[in-house]
């Protein structure tokens, strides 16, 4: 239906007065992929999206769409279409005129543009509501109309600004599946801003995690989860424990770090120097409630909370400089040897499960 375009962001910055919202980020989004910009609020993800869309000027750097540098182009000339957070449907127009708006701006004849808009609404299964006003629709229906309005311009890339945040949890999951399906059918590039890591994991081919205006990691979901690049990513994606310390010994590729409280842990890492601060990540589901065979692959902690979740049990412990070290064990394992709040338990993990976490150079 449409040609997809690669989006190439080359050391783009956004400066508002004296504050820098985006610090010279560089990113390549492959053509036809579903990319999620993920991060906490104020991390610069929306500014980045708005710069791609052309609703925010670029302070420095360039954005290329396909083979065209679009840095100084107005929004409509870029080949992108944006879907706004609150959908921004025109309240004074019916659905057909809402969808046909961009055709009207181009000067397409009334009959022709209304026919095209109706076709687009049909694609979104909204033709039954064609003569209604946006206020008479539910959130999910409004989203479909907003999609129809964005897609009628036949864009090379669709930019979505927190498209699911206005929906209730049930609808969120349904519309999420619809978005994914739509992207597969159209084959165009989707860039989706969200603060929900669950949403990003479910949708994205490429997750870009941002923090303080910088990209912490840009990788497929599986890589982000299995090899988080930084402590921030590990914490933000959840299901990871982060331990911090300083490098005290290096033996070939085994680095030993010592936490402030004295425990030492081993991690397979390269290019470290003694005395440097280092973070390691351990997935919560890879920690076992057993004494460690090697002292540097485990510690003893005090249970501070136990949550029963059905198939699994989540245990929170204090120890090794962390006050929310989390262990998720299967219910069977837990009830074989239950622990309750205040108990001291031994934890251990395998060397392969320890992930060295880098730091983003500021």
């Amino acid at each position: 239906m449409s040609k997809a375009a690669e989006i190439d962001i080359a050391s783009v910055s956004k400066v508002y007065g004296t504050t820098t919202a985006v610090h010279a980020i560089s990113l390549k989004i492959p053509a036809g992929s579903y990319c999620c910009l993920l991060g906490p609020s104020g991390c610069g993800k929306t500014s980045t999206l708005r710069m791609i869309a052309g609703h925010e000027s670029i302070s420095s750097g360039d954005i290329r769409l396909g083979n065209v540098v679009v840095t100084d182009f107005p929004p409509a000339k870029r080949g992108t279409a944006m879907m706004f957070q609150s959908y921004a449907l025109f309240p004074h127009l019916d659905l057909v005129d809402n969808v046909a708006f961009s055709l009207k701006m181009k000067g397409v004849e009334k009959e022709e543009r209304r026919a095209k808009a109706l076709e687009m609404l049909k694609l979104m299964q909204m033709e039954a509501y064609a003569t209604r006003r946006p206020a008479q629709l539910s959130g999910g229906q409004q989203q479909r109309v907003a999609l129809a309005r964005a897609l009628i311009t036949d864009p090379e890339a669709l930019l979505l600004d927190e498209p699911l945040s206005a929906l209730d949890p049930f609808l969120k999951i349904r519309m999420r599946a619809e978005l994914k399906k739509l992207q597969k059918t159209l084959g165009i590039t989707f860039v989706h801003v969200t603060h929900s890591q669950e949403e990003a994991m479910a949708l994205a081919d490429l997750i870009v995690i941002m923090n303080n205006g910088r990209i912490e990691q840009a990788a497929p979901p599986r890589n982000v989860f299995e090899q988080p690049a930084t402590a921030f990513v590990a914490r933000f994606m959840g299901d990871h424990n982060v331990l911090s310390g300083r490098v005290t010994a290096i033996d070939n590729d085994i680095v030993t770090l010592t936490a402030p409280e004295g425990q030492s842990f081993s991690v397979r890492d390269i290019a470290q120097e003694i005395g440097k601060p280092i973070d390691i990540g351990i997935r919560t589901d890879r920690v076992r409630l057993e004494p460690a065979s090697d002292k540097s692959l485990g510690f003893q902690g005090i249970v501070s909370n136990v949550e029963y979740r059905g198939a699994s049990v989540k245990i929170t412990l204090i120890g090794a400089g962390s006050d929310d070290f989390t262990v998720v064990v299967s219910d069977a394992d837990y009830f074989k040897k239950p622990a309750s709040t205040g108990d001291a338990v031994s934890l251990s993990w395998a060397l392969e499960d320890v992930i060295p976490l880098g730091r983003v150079s500021a």
């Binding site: 869309a53 609703h55 107005p74 929004p75 409509a76 000339k77 279409a81 944006m82 706004f84 957070q85 609150s86 921004a88 449907l89 025109f90 309240p91 004074h92 708006f101 961009s102 009207k104 701006m105 181009k106 309005r149 964005a150 311009t153």
Partner: protein, 302 residues
């Protein structure tokens, strides 16, 4: 035990409900103060005017009667028709100018002033002239526009004109100028209010759809500002239609308006004639307001 207590409570509830006044009475009681105020100060005077408009009169007194003479006199006179035409002319010109100026002032305040504080400061600046009375604001035009006023003397000194321009004061121009001056704020306020409520992302969405600045204005901002324009129009139209002081002062008695005609009739003690005139004016203004409300749905605003 609980069952007993519950049944007791139900009985008590029933008893108290039996003692209480019926619900419709409470509603009427709550509405009474407003009803009294509107009744005495709005409905009663209007009814009086309608009744008096059918009475007979001569130079000495009023005689209760049921005559259509006053209406026949009013509607049958070419002076009435000319005066109405003149008033409608003033209304139309003033309405068009206040709408145009009011919209752009509101647009500037709403979209070009970035901070809310500055918006409020500038809006208050707009209202400052309203801290003085209508008459004073009108009269203060006289030294500006008069034969030897500020404008004329400046133009002569600069050498643009050889002698004073006569039509600056005591003319239709002066009347319209003063009316626009007095009434523009009534347009600015409601339009500013509607413009402030427009979701800014709608404008971005329109831009995203390829709309130019004028297209955004024409296709998004103007349609959404319509309710404010309608409310402002109602204010301006009703105020200008009922105006007599501006016309009298600024035209120097050379122009007439319907309300001025009524004032003259009253000073000649022709109250029934003035009352008939007032009823006709009331009907005309109500029709105009109805027409405005038909064109624009302002319910969303209220």
């Amino acid at each position: 035990m609980t069952a007993v207590a519950t049944s007791g409570e139900i009985k008590a509830g029933k008893a108290s409900r039996g003692l209480a006044a019926p619900s419709w009475l409470a509603a009427w009681l709550q509405a009474t103060p407003l009803l009294l105020i509107l009744g005495f100060f709005f409905i009663l005077p209007i009814l009086t005017i309608i009744v008096v408009s059918f009475w007979d009169y001569d130079f000495a007194g009023l005689y209760p009667d049921f005559l259509t003479m006053n209406y026949a006199d009013t509607l049958g006179s070419w002076v009435t028709w000319k005066t109405y035409l003149n008033t409608l002319k003033f209304t139309a010109i003033t309405w068009a100018l206040t709408l145009f100026i009011g919209f752009w002032v509101a647009y500037f305040l709403a979209f070009h002033i970035r901070t809310t504080t500055m918006q409020m400061v500038l809006f208050l600046v707009c209202t400052v002239p309203f801290l003085t009375s209508n008459i004073i604001r009108m009269i203060s035009w006289i030294p500006v526009l008069g034969r030897n006023g500020l404008v004329n003397s400046t133009l002569i000194e600069v050498g643009i004109i050889p002698q004073p321009i006569e039509w600056l004061l005591y003319s239709d121009f002066a009347v319209v100028l003063a009316m626009v001056h007095l009434n523009t704020l009534f347009m600015v306020t409601p339009i500013f209010n509607t413009l402030m409520r427009i979701d800014r992302s709608l404008i971005e969405a329109a831009r995203d759809c390829g709309a130019s600045g004028w297209q955004v204005l024409w296709n998004v901002i103007l349609p959404l500002a319509k309710p404010g324009m309608a409310i402002g129009s109602i204010f301006v139209v009703t105020l200008v239609m009922a105006d007599f002081s501006t016309v009298q002062v600024m035209s120097g008695g050379q122009s007439a308006s319907v309300a001025l005609m009524m004032k003259n009739q009253m000073s000649l003690l022709q109250y029934p004639a003035a009352a008939a005139n007032a009823v006709v004016l009331l009907v005309v203004v109500l029709l105009m307001v109805a027409a405005i409300l038909r064109v624009v749905d302002i319910r969303k605003e209220l």
